[in-house]
């Protein structure tokens, strides 16, 4: 059984996670993954090892981790893979894979276009053809 693990930076302001949780709720509704868990690097709980434990406890045989990050950097390229490798050592019968960070998606570019057209005068928005 596949689990999606959404890896999030975390924030000292709990409010900062509200929109991320809305996105994750939508992912759950889509029903693609029988298990969906959020794990935080800092500040909030559960942490990523705790979220992986939750996936395995629900019967996950494969954990697919996706960084909810706009940027690549040491977190995405070093810290998160290291956490997943530690988890693999703890759960040798579970497969682990990692997806590209959210900022890579062309969806981000489409959303930026919308943020711009919402702020431009009407004429410019129409010109953008959105």
């Amino acid at each position: 059984m596949q689990a999606l693990l959404v890896m999030v930076h975390g924030s000292p302001r709990p409010d900062a996670n509200r929109e991320m949780f809305r996105v994750v709720d939508l992912v759950k509704q889509r029903g693609v993954f029988p298990i969906v868990e959020v794990g935080f690097m800092e500040c909030n709980t559960p942490d990523i090892p705790g979220a992986i434990d939750a996936c395995v406890a629900q019967g996950a045989s494969e954990v697919i981790a996706v960084p909810y990050f706009l940027h690549t950097g040491t977190h995405v390229m070093e810290d998160l893979p290291a956490l997943l490798e530690e988890a693999r050592a703890r759960y040798p019968r579970v497969q682990f894979r990692m997806g590209t960070f959210l900022g890579c998606s062309t969806a981000i570019a489409d959303i930026l276009v919308d943020r711009v057209t919402a702020a431009l005068p009407n004429g410019s928005a129409a010109q953008a053809g959105c």
């Binding site: 999606l4 959404v6 924030s11 302001r13 900062a16 929109e19 991320m20 809305r22 996105v23 994750v24 939508l26 992912v27 889509r30 693609v32 993954f33 697919i64 981790a65 996706v66 909810y68 706009l70 940027h71 690549t72 950097g73 040491t74 995405v76 390229m77 070093e78 893979p81 997943l84 490798e85 693999r88 682990f96 894979r97 990692m98 997806g99 590209t100 960070f101 959210l102 900022g103 890579c104 998606s105 062309t106 969806a107 981000i108 570019a109 489409d110 959303i111 930026l112 276009v113 943020r115 711009v116 057209t117 919402a118 702020a119 431009l120 410019s124 010109q127 953008a128 053809g129 959105c130």
Partner: protein, 156 residues
């Protein structure tokens, strides 16, 4: 003339801005404004004040600032207004508008699912370091600097 500036945090890691550069190119192709630039808060050049100055030098009279942030946190609520105050003082005839941050969007859910469906074994993720090396700017603060993976220093 309108200009768009994507306002981003910046990174010590060489090449970390490649995805953002691709998004800026997408905005350019949409023809939303004659100028689409990136301005960074920290680490990566050009820094935001420099980007503003370049847009004004090229004739921008209205600058639309798009926060390239998932949430409007400290950087957007505190640092950006400070930078905008400085920019307005420097260029009083230029108007500035700040758009919403990325925030919530249904397409983020689709992007998460697509990323998961294209996920690769953990070993492959380390390949991303090679991409960073391709954008080496000999930055002593880059996490790759002076490691075997740094083209500037690592070949010896």
């Amino acid at each position: 003339m309108n200009a768009i500036i994507l306002f981003s945090h910046g990174s010590l890691l060489c090449g970390a801005e490649q995805a953002l550069q691709a998004h800026a190119e997408h905005l350019r192709r949409q023809g939303l404004a004659p100028l689409v630039r990136i301005g960074f808060l920290n680490y990566t050049e050009p820094l935001f004040p420099q980007t503003v100055a370049e847009c004004v030098a090229q004739g921008a009279t209205h600058i639309l600032v798009v926060p390239y942030f998932l949430v409007p946190g400290y950087f957007v609520r505190v640092d950006l207004p400070r930078l905008l105050d400085e920019a307005r003082a420097r260029f009083p005839s230029v108007t500035f508008t700040v758009t919403d941050a990325i925030g919530y969007d249904e397409r983020l859910a689709d992007a998460l699912i697509a990323s998961a469906q294209a996920a690769r074994p953990l070993e492959h993720e380390r390949d991303v370091w090679k991409q960073a090396a391709a954008f080496c700017r000999r930055n002593p603060e880059c996490p790759l600097f002076a490691t075997p993976r740094c083209p500037a220093t690592g070949s010896e």
